[in-house]
Symmetry: C2
Subunit: 478 residues, 2 copies
């Protein structure tokens, strides 16, 4: 079920409430004083200038992704032709090539979507995102699918990603057992770099339909490219509305004043909470099951962008708050005890929703049991919102920092806003930390060890290094 558009743009704006971050509410020991924000104003201007200059020069192309009408039309046309022919779309991708599509599907299709029949799905495709290489899981996926009804979208910018490419090889062979070469061509869609890489070579040789990941857009900023938009359209998400939401947020996030720009303000508060108040953990806790994978997407963009050893001028800094994904109300019964009574080292960001799709009344069945009767006559909607408020109050009373991003409803428009907001916030706080939020140098070495262990030519020395560690033996294994 796709959430409806409704109302004027201004009524559909998401809001950012940071009252419970401030010293006036949670006290001086943990809270952020306005003076701290004022003291940072030169830094804020510097980062704002920098981002705007880079954007103008075309060095930050993620900023321009909300404006792609032609691509939206092309994708909708393309998936409209897929839908009558196929039942399933399998995305082969990992990290940034998977998390955007997963977040969009969870947010904007029905829960239990893949269990619905095709008419119940309004003709849209089931979506399976194969973002791991667990042999049992991938094997079982192939077993529950019929190759004739299945189309696969392999996504890797470099075409080098070992996990995705292994899955592609396995899946191509799997198709080949039931389909002719000619038929197979319609079952494979490639999303990759425009010019180079193994997947580009394969597209040119074998003639698959392809979509392009624009140059300069890294995986974790790619949700508004075909990486996220094609799977999104395939499950029936209004990707035009999604980009409209992102564009609307772009207008808000162009403002230079931190007091008017929600992404700058949230970046600033998180930065100050970390470096001035020692809050090194950033918990994202939506109170809507539909948003749980937005929290997982955030976990990637935050960790990979900000976890850095070196600053821009080469100093060793080892920065980066640790993002944690939580879910309200469920995690009240799992993590809240720690958030309230454990070390005061966290910022909790709630995501709340004013209007769910439906109201679910709680009936009054046991008037004689006081401990149940107070629930009757309310709705489940009221209960989830009451619990979120109670949690925020409880955290604040215990002087724990928390803030709230509120969505009028979960719609393509609001999700477009939310994801773009978080992208800008990430780029902005990266500027405050004075690191490069667009690279990921730390994972390179691990890939080389894996190449070595797998016997790839040129990585023999890495294998030797891996074999040498750890030297200690038996006493340290129980």
């Amino acid at each position: 079920m796709h959430r409806e558009k409704h109302g004027k743009e201004t009524d559909r704006k998401i809001s950012f409430d940071f009252r419970n971050m401030m010293a006036t509410v949670v006290g001086d020991e943990n809270g952020i004083a306005e003076t701290m924000i004022d003291e940072l104003s030169d830094e804020i201007s510097r980062v704002d200038d920098n981002l705007k200059k880079k954007r103008e020069r075309g060095n930050l192309p993620f900023f321009d992704l909300p404006y792609q009408d032609a691509l939206v039309e092309e994708l909708i046309d393309f998936v409209d032709r897929l839908k009558p022919r196929f039942e399933n779309l399998v995305v082969l991708g990992i990290g940034g090539s998977a998390l955007g599509a997963i977040a969009l599907k969870t947010a904007l299709t029905s829960p239990f979507y893949n269990l619905l029949s095709k008419p119940e799905r309004k003709g849209n495709l089931r979506l399976f995102v194969a973002d791991n290489i667990d042999p049992d899981e991938f094997n079982m996926l192939l077993r529950v699918l019929d190759p004739k009804e299945t189309v696969c979208n392999v996504i890797s910018k470099s075409g080098e990603t070992a996990e995705t490419m292994s899955q592609f090889l396995i899946m191509k062979e799997w198709f080949g057992r039931k389909l002719s070469k000619e038929e197979m061509r319609d079952h494979i869609i490639v999303t990759t770099d425009k010019e180079s890489g193994n997947l580009r070579t394969i597209v040119e040789k074998e003639g698959y339909k392809d979509f392009v990941i624009p140059a300069g857009v890294g995986g974790r900023f790619s949700v508004f490219t075909p990486v996220g938009l094609l799977p999104g359209a395939a499950v029936g998400i209004d990707i035009g509305e999604l980009l409209s939401g992102a564009a609307f947020m772009d207008t808000l996030c162009r403002k230079s004043s931190v007091w008017e720009n929600p992404a700058y303000m949230n970046g600033t508060l998180h930065f100050l909470a970390d470096v001035r108040k020692g809050k090194r953990i950033s918990v994202m806790m939506p109170y809507a099951a539909a948003l749980r994978d937005v929290a997982d997407w955030y976990r990637q963009i935050w960790a990979e962008s900000l976890g850095k050893k070196l600053s821009l001028n080469g100093e060793t800094v080892y920065v980066g708050p640790t993002p944690v994904r939580a879910l309200g109300v469920t995690d009240q019964h799992s993590q809240l005890q720690l958030y309230i009574e454990g070390p005061s080292d966290k910022v909790i960001t709630f995501i709340t929703v004013d209007q769910y799709c439906e109201k679910l009344p709680i009936p009054r069945l046991y008037p004689e049991i006081e401990g149940l009767d107070y629930l009757g006559g309310h709705t489940l909607n009221e209960l989830i919102q009451a619990e979120q408020r109670a949690t925020a109050v409880s955290l604040s009373k215990n002087r724990r920092l928390n803030c709230t991003i509120n969505l009028p409803c979960v719609s393509a428009f609001s999700i477009g806003q939310l994801l773009f907001f978080l992208e800008v916030q990430t780029a902005f706080i990266g500027g405050l930390y004075r690191i490069n939020p667009f690279d990921q140098p730390g994972v390179e070495e691990g890939k080389q060890y894996a190449y070595g262990i797998m016997g790839r030519k040129g990585f023999e020395r890495k294998k030797e290094e891996a074999d040498a560690l750890p030297a200690e033996r038996d006493r340290y294994i129980i």
Copy 2:
């Protein structure tokens, strides 16, 4: 698909490899020196004594849960009678009443289990654990289920849990629309306290089948009670083997020497890593999709048991490492950059698996592309294991603490071991922190605010308090 039993018990033992935690491997700055463990030996003995005395006195009944042959037989008989009649089991529970069942299902049934037909499931029930009160999610769950084919297991020790009880009221009314009162009786199973609480009252009045949560066993230690075992048996898990695994681990965890007791050693190392080396974040990262919800279960037992404001003698301590759930290899493309280059504030616990259920070969399809050809001829199994090793080496070379719990295979026996291991480790480290790992005083106030907001009698003042916060207004909302 239920993983097979195989081999002798000793071949089926899980192992704990802590080489990469030690100063001799990862260096003195971050690593744990043997002398630190030696210096803690009096504390270790004290905690060991304490646990054993409490166990003898019957004050820690979770220790005795592996030994319940009669209950196992009763549960198997009971679900064997459910299976021919029903298609779906819906568990209504939250936190400790849900996470064990979810962990067991994900670990020990097929991926995509709920998509399989009844014969493919060998007659076992589909399982839906409704552990949140999102109105859209719960509404859609009721919409995809047929009440005639559905049995519900409501789980709450106190019968006070607002979320679970609201769901129960809604679900009972939902049943009532299609079933007579007489019929409905067979569709509801209650798991609650033996003597008291709202659910006990309802069982007595309405005559539902009930199972008991033993006195003194808190939600997060309840996976080996009917809370976890009934849903487990319903999806076809060999719950006898599960308890055998737990009992086998119990023999290992009775050893007083920290060098022979994996739970004591892991507790000791995590304690030292936190208090001596500032590693306040504990990441659990299984390299098997089947184990991802074991990591979520761990997240609860670790956070709620250890996140405490007060020590046993009333000092304010604010302790508790923050648990984080990650998943290999997926999170190599999301979190690893942070784990390697960010602040050195984490311990990573890998969970590895020697033997997956099946081998998935990677075919050699492009001999002419060097960047793909090295993968061909290997299996996906080799790739996932190579990546885990590469990740551990890469972390260790960057002097980041990591350890590995290895399972010979994912089976009921090994999962029984693993969960019991983690329970003992939690109780043990709670002793080292000198806090009570079995209570959760911090969440009480939040519940009272929620009662107040929902208009429950006697909580009017809590509502006023909640309404008064935060006092700051508009300037802090963008």
